[in-house]
Structures are given as structure tokens and as C-alpha cells.
Symmetry: C2
Subunit: 438 residues, 2 copies
């Protein structure tokens, strides 16, 4: 069962396990993944189908579902379910519309014009994990920012479920956001198909969305070849809840349990300044697991192995600890949470107050749920409109402006060993010889 410890009592190795929870070593996975990727590169559709048969036990007749199949699936989903997803879609759109950046443009006194133009990455592939669990919400989270960025060609990659079939709700969500291409093949072979393109699949420029170790390794490998952009490396999910004595222990317990519900390796951590809260939350968690309802076996293993209740001397100590942990999700269930914002760092998504459980962000509030895990929030961010934009800088110098640059560029380029043409390409415009290096 979940343990209670004091932050001050954590030893070096306990801290290290929490703060450096990144990275399995991909070396051995890569050894399996690279031959699959190269096979798909060489043999296209045939290789993709072969691996899908071998790994998923499914013989797929058509690699890509199109408009008609998607329409049929959509029509089979009950209206009540569709309505829930459409309400969520509206909130996600609203939130992400705020993220669209404006081009930058300015003119210098010397008449030179400079700026930055934002353009969409055109070809997007979204990986939607399959198998027992399905994640239609992930398609919303990936597709909406891509559409707002202006990406014109969006494909979903997903493994087939039982039979040669993609679940109706996945089809329906594609229909709702306007995606009309679904690659029915997951794993490294699905990623490779989108990364290189095959006879029936067009090449993607960016592949996003969470997947298992093989999917993640294949994405990282294709990225390392300069073939595609990817979102951040996907690992186990986590939540860090910081609560003071005014928080409700049952609510905290349920929020931790909802994280544990994801998987056995998910981290569910509470830091509190109140030992009474700590004890009550522990009790609530035990009590709930004893009901043996829902996914209680996963939950039990998850909180026992990767759950933790920490006692802090102060909220400042709690926040400092969280800054080092770099949580994917952080709930701040304290009075006046806003006053702590300037001190909080390295969080994927922040849930403020008592009525913002992570589950509402997972589905409904509008923020993105594809977030940096494994402590990567120290240097990366959740999916956003930015993720699907590229920037082009530009400069349009006047003849006079370039002349001002002539001598300094000549000096700098010679320092760097470009003796002749870097400076020379400016001097030639004024029919001057570049002086020798000083």
C-alpha cells in the first residue's frame, strides 16, 4: 500500500529514483526496431502487412481506411457519447486558438526589413494506441492544434483491433475533426510507414502521440535520421499533488487513484504539509482499493510501487521538490494557489484549486493532455499549436545596410577561416576587393 515519508528523510537513492525517472535504455529495443523500420523502407506495404500479421495476428486487407468506412463507424456511435466528445472538442479548440502566434515584422532605421513567418507543418501523422484500451481523446488532442496551425494533410496511425477493424469511436472522432485517412497498422511498422511513405501511405513530416516502447523507439530513430519531427519521448504518466491542511482527503485520494488507474508504472504522489491529511488520504486509498471495483488490481500495484505520500515542512519545500521532479501534471490544492505560481517550475499542466482534478484536463477543460512525462517537463512542453508550426526568418537589406555590414562580416568570417567568399560576397557588390585579414 502507499507509503508516507518525510521529504527530509528521503535518502539519495530514493531521491534519484524520483528525479531521474527517465529513460529505459532503448539500445535493445532499437536492435529490434531498426530492422523493422528498414524492412518497411525497402518493401513498403507488403512489409507493413507482414509485421501486422506477425505481431497483431491480423491480416489486413486494406492498409488505409478512407471516408466511407469512417462515415459508417461514425453512424454507429450513440449520440450521447458523440455529444460528450464534441463538447470536449469545443473547449480544446477554444484553448488552442489562443496559441496561434502572429508573424513578426519590423523595419530598421537603415530601411532593412526583418521578421519571422509562421507556417504549418503540412503532413501530420497521429499515433493512436490500440489493443485493449483505446484513446479517441488523444486524437482530439493531437488533431485540433494541427488543424489550428493549418496542417493540411492529417493521418491517424492505429493498430487494428480484433478482426480487421478499427473501433467505431476512433472512426467517429476522425470524422468529427475531419480526418479522412486512417492507417490500420500500429507499432514500429506503422510509424515507419508514415515516416518513409509507402505505395499506399503518404510520407508524414511530423508524427505525434503516445505509444509503447517500440513505437517510441521507432519515432526516435526516424527523428535521428532527420526524417520527421516528433513530440517528446513518451513514458509513464505522473501526477504530483500539493495540498495544505484545508484540502479534502477523499478528493485527493480519488485524484491519485485516477492517475494510478492509468498503469502500474504511473507515479501518483502527494506532498502535504499536514500529517492528518497524509493519514486520511492513505486511509481513503486503502478503503477504495478494498472495494475491489474498477481496475483495482492495477491501481493497487501502481500506488504500492510508484505511489508516495510525502510530508513537507512548508509549501515552499513541497514546490521546490516538485520543481526537481518536473511532473507531467501538478494539482495545487491549497488556499490562494495563484500566490505560489511564480515559484512553480517544470510542470506540464497545472491544475489549480479544489475543482480542477487531472481527469478534467485529460478530457474536457481544453488544455492538451499530450504532455511531457518522465521529468522531461524540465525542457519540453505539452503538444500545442506551436508543435505544428515552423518558423522562417527573413531579412531584406538595403544597399546601404549591407555596406555597413561589409567590414564586420569580412573580419568575422576570416576569424572563422572563411577567408574568401563569405566576406567576398558582400565586397563584390560594391566592386571592392576584400582587404587581407588584419
Amino acid at each position: 500500500m502507499i507509503e508516507i515519508k518525510k521529504i527530509n528523510d528521503l535518502n539519495y537513492s530514493e531521491q534519484k529514483n524520483l528525479f531521474h525517472r527517465y529513460g529505459k535504455d532503448y539500445t535493445s529495443v532499437m536492435d529490434s526496431v531498426i530492422p523493422i523500420v528498414n524492412d518497411v523502407k525497402e518493401n513498403g506495404d507488403e512489409a507493413v502487412k507482414r509485421y501486422t500479421k506477425n505481431f497483431d495476428g491480423v491480416e489486413i486487407s486494406k492498409l488505409v481506411l478512407t471516408h466511407q468506412e469512417i462515415e459508417k463507424g461514425f453512424n454507429r456511435v450513440p449520440a450521447k457519447i458523440l455529444d460528450a466528445f464534441i463538447m470536449a472538442k469545443d473547449n480544446i479548440e477554444e484553448f488552442h486558438l489562443h496559441q496561434k502566434p502572429k508573424n513578426i515584422a519590423y523595419t530598421r532605421d537603415d530601411g532593412s526589413r526583418l521578421g519571422v513567418i509562421y507556417q504549418p507543418v503540412e503532413k501530420v501523422a497521429i499515433y493512436a494506441p490500440g489493443g485493449k484500451a483505446i484513446y479517441p481523446s488523444t486524437i482530439l488532442m493531437a488533431a485540433i492544434p494541427a488543424i489550428i496551425a493549418g496542417s493540411s494533410d492529417i493521418t491517424v496511425i492505429t493498430p487494428p483491433c480484433e478482426g480487421d477493424v478499427v473501433p467505431d469511436i476512433i472512426l467517429a472522432i476522425c470524422r468529427i475533426v475531419g480526418i479522412d485517412k486512417i492507417i490500420v497498422s500500429g507499432g514500429a511498422q506503422g510509424i515507419a510507414a508514415a515516416g518513409f511513405g509507402t505505395q499506399s501511405i503518404s510520407k508524414a513530416d511530423i508524427i505525434v502521440g503516445p505509444g509503447n516502447l517500440y513505437v517510441t523507439a521507432a519515432k526516435a530513430y526516424l527523428f535521428s535520421l532527420g526524417l520527421i519531427q516528433i513530440d517528446s519521448m513518451a513514458g509513464p504518466s505522473d501526477v504530483m499533488i500539493i495540498a495544505d491542511e484545508g484540502a479534502n482527503p477523499k478528493w485527493i485520494a480519488f485524484d491519485l487513484l485516477s492517475q494510478a488507474e492509468h498503469s502500474e508504472d504511473a507515479f501518483s504522489i502527494l506532498i502535504t504539509t499536514s500529517s492528518q491529511i497524509a493519514e486520511s488520504v492513505k486511509e481513503e486509498i486503502s478503503k477504495d482499493i478494498e472495494t475491489k471495483t474498477g481496475r483495482y488490481e492495477i491501481v493497487k500495484k501502481s500506488v504500492t510501487e510508484n505511489g508516495l505520500i510525502l510530508l513537507a515542512d512548508s509549501l515552499e519545500q513541497a514546490i521546490e521538490f516538485s520543481n526537481r521532479f518536473a511532473p507531467e501534471h501538478m494539482e495545487l490544492m491549497v488556499s490562494d494557489p495563484d500566490s505560489y505560481l511564480p515559484k512553480i517550475k517544470n510542470v506540464g499542466s497545472l491544475f489549480l484549486g479544489h475543482y480542477s482534478p487531472v481527469a478534467v484536463g485529460d478530457y474536457f477543460s481544453g488544455t492538451n493532455h499530450i504532455l511531457p512525462t518522465g521529468g522531461t517537463a524540465r525542457f519540453s512542453s505539452g503538444l500545442s499549436v506551436d508543435s505544428f508550426l515552423r518558423r522562417t526568418t527573413y531579412q531584406h537589406l538595403t544597399g546601404n545596410a549591407l555596406k555597413t555590414a561589409m567590414e564586420p562580416v569580412g573580419i568575422m568570417s576570416k576569424v572563422e577561416g572563411f577567408d574568401s567568399k563569405h566576406g567576398g560576397s558582400i565586397y563584390v557588390r560594391y566592386e571592392e576587393d576584400q582587404p587581407d585579414a588584419g
Copy 2:
């Protein structure tokens, strides 16, 4: 010597070589790099010094140079050289200050507050290649956006030159931008030292800057472990010049030559609608190489193997070709270049008009010269203030707003197999039981 061809006459394999110029296969390099990285992880400073001795033939006494050594180097650089770099620094600062994004915050009708907070990635390492060529300008290009983003801890990684020495100009540039830590060790071992941290080197969260194949492989490997963020994969540099009949052939020739001056594998490509321009540029290039001055041997090999003059039927065809090539640098030497902007895609940095040669962007105009190579401009961007920022999304829902979300979240989470606690964590706040799945 550089060849002239018609775009219409390029066969499939010629097109493929140009459009798919990404990616050496890193597999074999990775096999050398991973043991080095793991050795540094295990053995820290001792391993870094050992590899530097083996690979660079240099026994370094101190792995990290600090303030005093940097100050001394700065004092040895002639004022004229310093002045040139300082003028460049001012322009680079001006350009990048325009890139600083504003936080996003808004309130919904139901009282919920949502937004995005931008924060700096705190610990930055900049790789500056060494050996025969040195690139102090690259330190400006990486350090200035990081400083504007607010990164607090910036380190330079650079291999030692002859003797246990870092060139004065590198030290001086560090002094100018305020960097006071230099790791005197390059290659995979330098990257690993910054990626993991060692006894004398603090761990970085992001490592940027171009390097050779081993440096790039080490960066990609550490990225794949979820340890660091990196900029895009570095490959050979390229320029695409689009010129109409009004352009000056000698200026074009020098701009192509300045690209070829970089390295033998650099791509220097002109597309023109004028066969007269094509012929004249070819002649100017030949004439210049025959002078046998500067780096003419590198230049000759570069333009012969990777240079190309293409004839296009129209500027539209030229731009469409460039969009597929996705150049790092594009010069548009045509009348009224602005009118073509809406059609241009997938460019790292754009040089408009007749007085904007790439060399002025390399050093002086203010745009960043760390740009996407190898066609990665299709999905990635040059270094910018954004590269050193992370985003935290947040949501602060009111009790009423969460209640509205209760039913849809319950429905959606059950669809995804989270039967119990995702919806439950909302229902519990209203002391309601979650209904069974519909």
C-alpha cells in the same frame, strides 16, 4: 565543374538525391557512441579526460575553464575583431527580442481561468565545434536567444585546440555574452558530460549547436533517453538561390561560392528562369576557382559534386521545386520578391532582394544561423527564443464549471476503459456516485 540542367529534365533519381538528402544511417556511429556515453555516465570526469586524450591527443588538466581564464583570453583579442562581433551581437539581440512570447490568460463565462505560462529551460549547453575551424559566431547565435528566454545557467562545450587551450576568440565571445563556464572537451564525451553531469560539470537540460556525426549521434541518443532537449539534427549546409534575368551573375556566383566554401558536401544550387544568367554564373564560378585563391579546392569539389544550376520555366516552378527541397537558406534575387512570399514554404531563413547574401545572415543581420539542414526545414525551424522556453498550461475551474464537465468526462473516460476513478474523481466532489456506463 558546376552543371546546368533543366528542372523538366531531372530524372527520378536526381530528384530523389536532392529532395531526400537527409540522413546518413546513424546505426554504425551509434555503435561507437553509446559505449562512450555510458562510460562517461559511469566514470564521469575520468572518462571524459581519457577520451579527450585518445581522440584529440590532448591531456587536459582542468575540464572546466572559468572566469579568470576567460577574462585573459578576452584581453588578448584585438579591439577591431571584438568590435565586429559586438556589432553583430547587438543586431542578433534586437532580432531575437522580438520573439519573446507573452503568457496567455483568459477567463470563461463560467468563471474558469485558463492559460499558458512561458518559462526558460534553465540549464543550457552550447556545442561549439573546434579543430581547424572555430565558430565564435555560433556561440552568439545560441547564447543570445537563451539569455533572452531567461536561461540562468549556460555552458559552452568545445574541444581543446593545440595544447590544452581554447582559442582566445571563443573565450572572448563567452565573456561578451556573459558565459563563465567552458567545458574543454568535445565529441560524444563532451555531449555526454553535459547530458549526465559529472563531478565537475553540471547536467544540462538542453544541448544545442552543430557538431560532427559523433556529436549529433550522441545528442540524438541522449534525447531518445528523455535526458535532454536538442535542436534539430545537423547535416550539410545548403543554399537555394532563385534569380530572374535582372539579377547580377557575379553576385550570384559569389553567394554560391560562399556556400561551397563551407564544405565539400554543402549544396549550392541556383534556379533561374534565364539561360543567360545560368551561363554567366557558371562562367563566373569557373573563373573564380581558376584563381586558385582561398579555399578553392574545397569549393571546386563542392560545386562539382553538390552544386547545380537549374533552369526553370517560371519562377512559380522554381519556388515549387524549392518547397520540395526545403532549403536551409534561400535567396530570392528577383524583382518584387515580396510578391512571392505567400508561395514560399519550408525555408530555414530567407534572404530577399539583391543586397541580402547569406553571409550577412551568417554573421550580422540578426537572424539566427543555426538552421534546419538536410530538408528538415519541412518540419523544423532555426534556433530561436522559443527553443529555450517551455510552456506550462494551466486551468483553474470553478465548482460549477467542473459540475458541467462531470457527465461528459464520465462518459469519455468509460469509453477509454478508465471505468472508475477518472470520472469518479469528479463525481466524488459532488458526493454523487458515477452512473454505470451507458
